[in-house]
């Protein structure tokens, strides 16, 4: 199949963000057409090869930059790096404190702390997995962050609960279905409340991407 260079360049343009293509795509096509014509007349095939090499190297350098700029412009996550770093550190501190508290309870057999063991287990596992997925989805999509958080937390908690029920009942003789169920329900409520508070604190930026 012999594809015309103009058509090939149109395909190459798909490497750039949609908004950039909308604003400058036609001009870039015209630019490439002019360059192609000039190279063909002045330097022939060698010139055309050089033009393609230059164009592709330029694309490799500039397309990621344009995507990064689009992400910075579109996402609250990237706009408030200080706040987000603080929230991330806060979450780590919470997890560490919970872990230390649980270890202390186990060591000294303090029943009131052990009661929360299952909640802490569920909260930590679902929190790490769920928040990682939420962070990635908020970064790469334009969907409502609170809705992303709700569905991700529901799916992650549901999947982990299912795995725990299937595996836990086989490996742990003291397995308690009601304890695990309670743990995942409280964990879900905790993490979703945190995201809800976060979306309210950041304001409309965090929930303004849905078209």
């Amino acid at each position: 199949m012999n594809m015309p260079p103009q058509r090939l360049f149109q395909i190459v343009l798909f490497a750039y963000p949609r908004d950039f293509r909308r604003d400058y795509g036609q001009q870039m096509e015209q630019f490439f057409r002019d360059c192609y014509r000039a190279e063909r007349v002045t330097r022939g095939r060698l010139g055309l090869g050089g033009l393609w090499v230059r164009t592709l190297l330029d694309l490799a350098r500039t397309a990621p930059r344009e995507h990064l700029e689009t992400l910075r412009k579109d996402n609250a996550i990237m706009k408030n790096p200080g706040k987000n770093a603080l929230a991330f550190l806060g979450s780590i501190v919470l997890i560490v404190v919970a872990f230390l508290l649980l270890s202390y309870g186990k060591k000294h057999e303090i029943s009131t702390i052990l009661i929360f063991g299952r909640i802490l287990d569920a909260g930590m596992t679902a929190g790490i997995v769920g928040n990682l997925i939420i962070f990635l989805l908020i970064t790469i999509t334009r969907l409502n962050p609170l809705r992303i958080a709700l569905w991700t937390l529901l799916v992650v908690h549901g999947a982990l609960l299912l795995v725990t029920i299937v595996v836990g009942s086989k490996v742990d003789p003291a397995f308690s279905l009601s304890g695990v169920l309670l743990g995942y329900i409280v964990s879900f409520l905790f993490w979703f409340s945190l995201h809800w508070i976060w979306s309210k604190a950041i304001g409309p930026l965090a929930v303004s991407h849905e078209s």
Binding site: Y16, F20, D23, Y24, Q26, Q27, M28, Q30, F31, F32, D34, C35, R54, T55, L57, D58, L59, R61, T62, A63, R65, E66
Partner: protein
């Protein structure tokens, strides 16, 4: 400040008058003896930023409407763009003077 080389060359190219994208590329290639050939991503990425920083504007007027393709878009240096370009040229010329005093490059013959 300092400006990126591609941005500096684009502003320099527009200092003589309005140009479209391909015209800017030709002008830059000419005043750098063909050493810098702007690619489409570099050129239009820089144009996008220059427009948002109001260093250049898009203009409707064309140098020769009879000969030109009306789909082409022309760009013009703003007053602010001119000030920025002059400041950058002065910064570079100061550096060149220092390099000349240190005999890193020869002084121009008067």
């Amino acid at each position: 400040m300092p400006l990126r080389p591609s941005v500096f060359h684009i502003l320099l190219a527009l200092s003589d008058g309005d140009l479209h994208g391909y015209g800017i590329m030709q002008e830059v290639a000419e005043h750098t003896d063909g050493q810098i050939k702007l690619g489409p991503g570099t050129l239009y990425g820089a144009i996008k930023r220059l427009l948002s920083e109001r260093l250049i504007v898009e203009v409707d007027e064309r140098p020769d409407p009879e000969l030109d393709d009306e789909r082409r878009r022309y760009y013009r240096l703003t007053d602010f763009g001119q000030k920025v370009l002059k400041a950058e040229v002065q910064r570079i010329s100061k550096m060149v003077s220092v390099a000349q005093r240190k005999r890193l490059i020869p002084k121009p013959r008067s």
